[in-house]
Symmetry: C2
Subunit: 510 residues, 2 copies
């Protein structure tokens, strides 16, 4: 009887603790939401001179959130709940595990440094926004130096014994190490480089009709059509326009994708919408009940990129889907594409070319662009090069891997936004994501007639498969765990490399 | 010696208290900034389904700000500083006075009700955004009922002895009462109504060429030109597009104006940009040192409208300025306006017509639109009509004052956003502002050749005069005090009425 009573009391305390943790997470969610909107507004609508004020506001909110994430209430709740780990549901256990990991890391970083870093990232991003159109690296360099110095210091606070760059690799793709990353890129290099050589020696594909006069209004209409084809609910997902396309999500009820319309090129925006749309679909389909807790979001950057690049390339650049889109494109851009056949269009959007800009890169050379960034990040964190040497090193690596050299930093080391807010270690996840996606496609084909879906523009079965196997879980499983459940065999880049070889052998008649 | 020492100590304590208050205000500023950006984003970029989440986030931030504004630190600081009132600078005294007033009011409102109200206003605004394009008042009505109920309850908490509506009149225009407002509108009615009758009996002005095909791209270009002519620094002020134009400011370094482009009407957006530009100029020119304290913003809605309507009407619809703009308008809209003379354009943009939409109203009938809203607000707060009766009462009053009846609520009681976020008592400030502006113009003419400025499109001397007499002070002086300094005689609506009579007598050849 006494035992029962104690058991009952404990149950009640446990329920109360869960409720309190929910409330605390909701509050932290609000701060993240506000900071997210400030960031989005800064990249879209805000006047250029507003960055300093925004940085100060970010610092205040970030400090308040830090205090919640590391405060005595959070510590007590997590200690209590961890002590009752066996009595928690699977979801609750994972939430506690993730929060404890965050807490352990945050507690290593002094509060005032954390707030200052938040302000610095906002200012640095603004500096990048100013530097890129002017192609002036010197505007951005002093901020980037501070960003790298801060990131190194933070990594050292948290994990003083491991390589700071490896710490960030693991942040974006839990479990990823420099060794694994090196091996992965070596495997890619071994097959992609010779394949590219054969492609370059073959008869080239004509894509000249993809450059010309593509009215912005028609491009915006195309974005609307793509969102509908991808079955993205516009009530919960908007499209904005920014220098560099991105996706951000505040909740599964408020996801934003952005694109950049170029008046002389419709394909760039088209594939950025499909890419960001893949990110959006993932975020829009996490579980309703996880809206305000740490599970309600994509689990890692690699998994996220696997989804965006799945739609962009495996679906968006497939023969079936391009054939489905072709009549729509001819109607929207009659003057440019009216006389272009389905086959010519398919080959054109898959044209391989060693080029300068990652986001415009074809499917085959893409991983080489990533390798440039990976090499530079490793060297920056190992103090093998300085920030001032980035442009030179960038140009050297582009020449080495791709055989091309940027004529200005706008098309070189200033092209991506990632470094401006300290997202070092993120880039490898693009290449990993592509490889994950190819292995998912192989699994999907066992039960879904993917070719028919693409040809008919009916993406519902593809969405349903991804939702069933990936999206609905949010962060419930760790990336490696989730992939194991999906693949039922270990991750292997050979699916990706086989896919590339088959596809480009056919297109280039190798 | 002892005295000196105490004095020194007290000085140090005082300096510390000032520093602490500054820091607290900066923190509160950050929360207001975040909430402002969330609001702006909600009105511009956010997907429609995101309102509920945004409301919850607003409630969390609003609660945190409430705790800062009413917490023990604020109370202690204000008590201490008020006790040393004589030792404070003029600015410090005014800051303390304003914060004490806010504190006294906020302490009357229970914290949880304050947070709930913030959430309600966000949801209500979203409902209005949904209701207006559908012209469906029933979508908005249940929210509006809750908004009014909340506003009444809050007024009662703060000032249980006075009429709730009068409380809000005083909020937007400190010192304004129902009696003063009734008298002001009576004075207007006595001269505007007979003047309008004479205008309506006269030969009508042709404005048919202002309706037609006005490409949006050219309209956007016109906005850019107007911003430049008004000398608005775009680094600190952006233009967005919303259903209903508005201005919002986070600091003097981040001001946003919005407009609505109608493809068949260029004048609507043109004058909304000039109007909102007037608000923006005021906010952009408060003192640098007041960026993060309560002084760094326009002092009242009446003063604010005096600036926006000064630019819109006294400058923007003057013969000189229209003549200056005419060649630009003819160049931008060659097909529509290529053959229109300066005089015809001047008369057309000043055409009087009893119409349905306030923001499209001419200068003469404008105050009648305001009177409709004033009457309804008074009746709602006196429980003389219910929310459900608004459409009917709206249409009745439009018929009575203007002789026209809306065919749908979109052009009727759903046209304005003000009620959706509880801005009751705001409307009278538009009419008051117009009258303030006319009296300012009379003063300005004593030292500035206003006609020459308008004719040459050189607004610098006008901006300089307004900056010197009004903008730079922010909230340092109370509205009545500021006006007294500017006018050196009491405020008198006769300047406004004389101005209207002279202008429209000339245009209509009365």
């Amino acid at each position: 009887m006494n035992l029962l009573k104690n058991g009952g009391l404990c149950q009640m305390e446990l329920a109360q603790a869960i409720t309190k943790l929910d409330a605390l997470q909701r509050k932290m969610f609000a701060y993240n939401h506000a900071m997210g909107v400030l960031y989005y507004d800064g990249a879209t609508a805000a006047p250029a001179g507003s960055a300093a004020n925004r940085g100060e506001t970010m610092a205040v909110l970030s400090e308040a959130e830090y205090l919640m994430a590391t405060g005595p209430e959070m510590i007590d709740l997590l200690d209590f709940l961890y002590a009752h780990n066996d009595e928690l549901t699977q979801k609750q256990r994972r939430i506690v595990e993730m929060l404890r990991k965050d807490l352990a890391e945050l507690r290593c970083i002094p509060q005032e440094e954390y707030a200052a870093a938040s302000k610095l990232m906002a200012e640095s991003t603004a500096a990048w926004h100013e530097a890129k159109p002017r192609s002036d690296f010197s505007i951005f360099a002093p901020y980037l130096e501070k960003v790298i110095e801060t990131k190194k210091r933070f990594a050292h606070y948290v994990k003083p014994d491991i390589d700071p760059y490896e710490y960030y690799l693991d942040t974006y793709e839990p479990g990823l190490t420099r060794r694994k990353c090196d091996e992965f890129f070596a495997a890619l290099r071994a097959r992609v480089v010779p394949l590219l050589k054969r492609v370059q020696a073959a008869r080239q594909v004509d894509a000249s009709f993809l450059t010309g006069d593509f009215p912005l209004e028609a491009q915006r209409k195309l974005s609307d059509e793509l969102m509908e084809i991808m079955r993205i609910d516009r009530s919960f997902c908007s499209i904005g326009e920014t220098e560099h396309p991105f996706t951000t999500n505040f909740t599964k009820r408020d996801v934003r994708i952005t694109t950049h319309y170029y008046p002389d090129n419709a394909v760039s925006s088209m594939y950025s919408v499909i890419h960001e749309g893949g990110h959006a679909l993932y975020e829009l389909h996490t579980a309703d009940e996880d809206m305000y807790n740490g599970l309600g979001s994509g689990v890692s950057m690699g998994l996220h990129e696997s989804q965006s690049r799945f739609y962009e390339n495996l679906v968006g650049r497939s023969r079936g889907f391009v054939t489905f889109l072709a009549p729509r494109l001819r109607a929207l851009f009659l003057q440019q594409l009216g006389g272009v056949s389905d086959d010519a269009l398919y080959r054109a959007v898959n044209r391989c070319e060693a080029s300068l800009v990652r986001t415009e890169a074809d499917e085959l050379t893409y991983s080489l662009h990533i390798m440039v960034r990976y090499e530079i990040e490793k060297k920056l964190f190992a103090d093998e090069i300085s920030v001032a040497e980035i442009p030179q090193e960038w140009n050297r690596l582009y020449q080495e891997y791709l055989g091309v050299t940027p004529s200005c930093d706008r098309d070189g080391c200033l092209q991506d936004s990632h470094w401006s807010d300290g997202s070092f270690g993120y880039f490898p996840s693009y290449a990993l994501g592509s490889a994950y996606g190819a292995q998912m496609l192989a699994r999907m084909r066992e039960t879904v007639d993917v070719d028919a879906c693409e040809k008919n523009g009916d993406l519902a079965p593809i969405n349903a498969w991804l939702c069933e196997h990936i999206w609905q879980y949010g962060c419930l499983y760790k990336p490696a765990e989730l992939l194991e459940r999906v693949f039922e065999t270990p991750f292997d880049p050979k699916y990706y490399l086989d896919y590339l070889e088959t596809k480009f052998t056919e297109i280039y008649g190798l």
